[in-house]
């Protein structure tokens, strides 16, 4: 499964708001992205399409709310903007972001190097992933 550079870049920016540890950490971001793509590959195509649309909407609405492209926002403004989107009365956007938040958390906390920071010892069985 492959995605556009814009989708990856914008998703990582949203993920950096949800999980600040991802900001400015290329190695962690790449590990996150690998997990995220793995999760998406198990979703029905319609769900993946909705997610891509959501990221596009987040990117486009930035012009309206911030008068700037989403990629040009600094970390503080980006966080305020995402906070605002979560509070929108439009359930498709807020609900979509909540679904995206879940995927981001599962992807991030699925990275073995992250486990130490939360004192999680990980699986007991030593097998490779499916």
């Amino acid at each position: 499964m492959s995605f556009s550079k814009a989708f990856k870049r914008n998703t990582l920016l949203v993920a950096g708001v949800i999980v600040p540890d991802l900001r400015d950490n290329e190695a962690l971001s790449e590990a996150f992205w690998e997990n995220f793509v793995k999760l998406l590959s198990g979703l029905p195509p319609e769900s993946v399409g909705k997610l891509q649309l959501l990221i596009k909407v987040v990117s486009l609405l930035s012009w309206i709310y911030n008068l700037k492209p989403f990629t040009a926002l600094n970390a503080r403004v980006r966080q305020m903007y995402i906070d605002r989107l979560f509070s929108l009365p439009v359930s498709k956007i807020a609900g979509g972001l909540t679904g995206l938040r879940s995927l981001i958390f599962i992807s991030f906390y699925g990275i073995p190097t992250v486990w130490e920071s939360i004192n999680y010892e990980g699986p007991i069985v030593n097998r490779t992933g499916s």
Partner: protein
């Protein structure tokens, strides 16, 4: 396929399908039976205890969202169905529920004698028992401590394990095969008896005596398909739909024209047993992700406020999802993961006509479910009581959806009704979850109110039966697998009777 004709085709290999196959294939039946499963065939060797991989055991990676995005349903898509990912918590249907089903829906076969005899046999087969208290992990001990301090009676859960290693990964598939679900008990048993199992096979429609399916490519690290990929049409004298509440009603809806059946109740009266899993932060490391996750429950609020509380514990990704917020505050919360105590809230929801499984224009399942006012009220009461238990157990913080502050602190308890209130419950931001979908093809005496008759046969058809939780006319209010098995046994007896005549 060499043999495309069977006596019985069962659609679904979960608790309903596996059980009905088990009863129908017993010695002497001589019936040619096939089970068709939409998910891949994974055995215990394929489970690796990693969330990122094992969410593949579920539809939509663990959350099929309702149309309004207020609730996400976790349902398994793998051989063994949800028994491959449940915790093995074993409840008999409450007597009050059975009374109602007998009285209001004509399910008079559910006599105390029939229910007890059937479930005695099922529980013995699955080694249903209570774990000794000395084996409880800290989460379970603290739950009891908190409830005891508040004078709330706790009860011991029964579970269906054999030789459990208490690794704590039940919901990601049991790597030791200790959990006596369908994957470990009924499926191996029926395969030995010659039942055919076809996996990665999605049933689109059924007709009288025929099933139309598409076999998809087997995912990596699962057992390869034994039949060629692509469309197939199989024939049988009887077809039993046991594809679960998300799928059985959808198959019936897609098949309505071919079956010449138009029953407005199909898909209706869906109940989801809405759930929240909440966490408190204890004063020291308690490592609750190890050990058996569930040993205690509370039903003291069931009649008065409409909820059960159970112990539970989840993995980091799901725990992160369950905790409120995001950003640096959330990161600080997750750094306390190994200090977390956790409680599962299960709300009783009433079967309402408007809540339903529908299909979109491509025929895919759509969950059309609105959280009722009474469920919201119950949820707030449950969140308040659970918060009190967390603090009575010794937690120093509580992470509660539906509250005006994160975290809630012990000093907030006297005013808990002000801090945890309906006005703060935003289900779009903090969706409920569900692992117990029920209804959609409810059993009853007349097609005016139901989809199947009392034998489990779909009204207006000659050969189509249902054998899963979609038969439930209302919520069973407890973890449902024993009730599904009970009804599957009954349906098997009726199909067997039909086969003989």
């Amino acid at each position: 396929m060499r043999d495309t004709s069977y006596d019985i085709i069962i659609v679904g290999s979960g608790v309903g399908g596996g059980t009905v196959a088990d009863y129908l294939s017993r010695a002497g039946s001589g019936l040619r039976i096939a089970i068709i499963e939409s998910g891949p065939f994974r055995k215990k060797e394929h489970f690796n205890q990693r969330e990122i991989d094992m969410t593949a055991l579920y539809y939509n990676r663990g959350a099929v969202l309702s149309e309004n995005m207020e609730i996400g349903v976790a349902a398994a898509n793998t051989v063994g169905g949800s028994s491959a990912v449940y915790t093995g918590v074993s409840f008999r249907p409450p007597e009050s529920v059975l009374n109602r089903w007998r009285r209001e829906f004509g399910m008079e076969f559910l006599t105390a004698e029939y229910v007890n005899r059937s479930l005695d046999e099922i529980e013995e087969d699955l080694n249903v028992h209570e774990l000794p208290e000395r084996e409880d992990n800290e989460n379970n001990r603290l739950f009891r401590k908190g409830a005891d301090a508040l004078g709330i009676p706790v009860k011991r859960l029964k579970i269906n394990t054999k030789g459990c290693l208490k690794q704590g990964f039940c919901n990601l598939g049991c790597t030791s095969g200790a959990k006596q679900g369908t994957l470990e008990v009924q499926i191996p048993r029926v395969l030995k008896r010659g039942v055919t199992l076809i996996y990665n096979a999605v049933v689109r429609t059924v007709e009288e005596n025929a099933v139309n399916l598409v076999v998809r490519k087997a995912p990596e690290n699962t057992i390869p398909n034994e039949i060629e990929e692509g469309g197939h049409r199989l024939y049988a004298r009887y077809i039993i739909l046991a594809a679960g509440t998300l799928n059985t009603p959808a198959i019936l809806l897609r098949s309505a024209k071919k079956l010449h059946v138009s029953n407005p109740n199909t898909g209706r009266y869906l109940t989801l047993h809405p759930a929240f899993n909440i966490n408190g932060i204890y004063t020291k490391t308690i490592t609750n992700y190890r050990g058996f996750p569930k040993t205690w429950y509370i039903d003291a609020f069931s009649d008065s406020d409409g909820f059960y509380l159970e112990t539970s514990f989840y993995f980091p990704g799901v725990t992160a999802k369950n905790n409120p917020g995001y950003g640096s505050m959330h990161r600080d919360i997750m750094r306390c993961y190994s200090k977390m105590m956790s409680i599962l809230i299960l709300i009783h929801d009433e079967a309402e006509y408007g809540n339903r499984i529908a299909t979109d224009r491509r025929g895919n399942t759509v969950i059309d479910y609105t959280v009722s006012d009474s469920v919201r009220k119950s949820m707030i009461r449950a969140l308040q009581e659970s918060t009190k238990i967390l603090f009575a157990a010794g937690c120093e913080k509580a992470l509660i959806p539906g509250s005006d502050k994160t975290p809630v602190l012990p000093e907030d308890v006297p005013d808990i009704h002000l801090h945890i209130a309906e006005q703060y419950l935003n289900l779009t931001r903090t969706p409920l979850s569900s692992a117990h979908p029920q209804g959609g093809a409810r059993m009853g005496t007349t097609p005016k109110h139901a989809v199947t008759d009392i034998s489990g046969k779909v009204f207006g058809t000659q050969s189509i039966y249902v054998s899963d939780a979609s038969l439930f006319p209302g919520s069973v209010k407890v973890n449902p697998y024993e009730t599904v098995m009970l009804l599957a046994k009954w349906v098997a007896e009726n199909v067997l009777e039909a086969c003989l005549h």
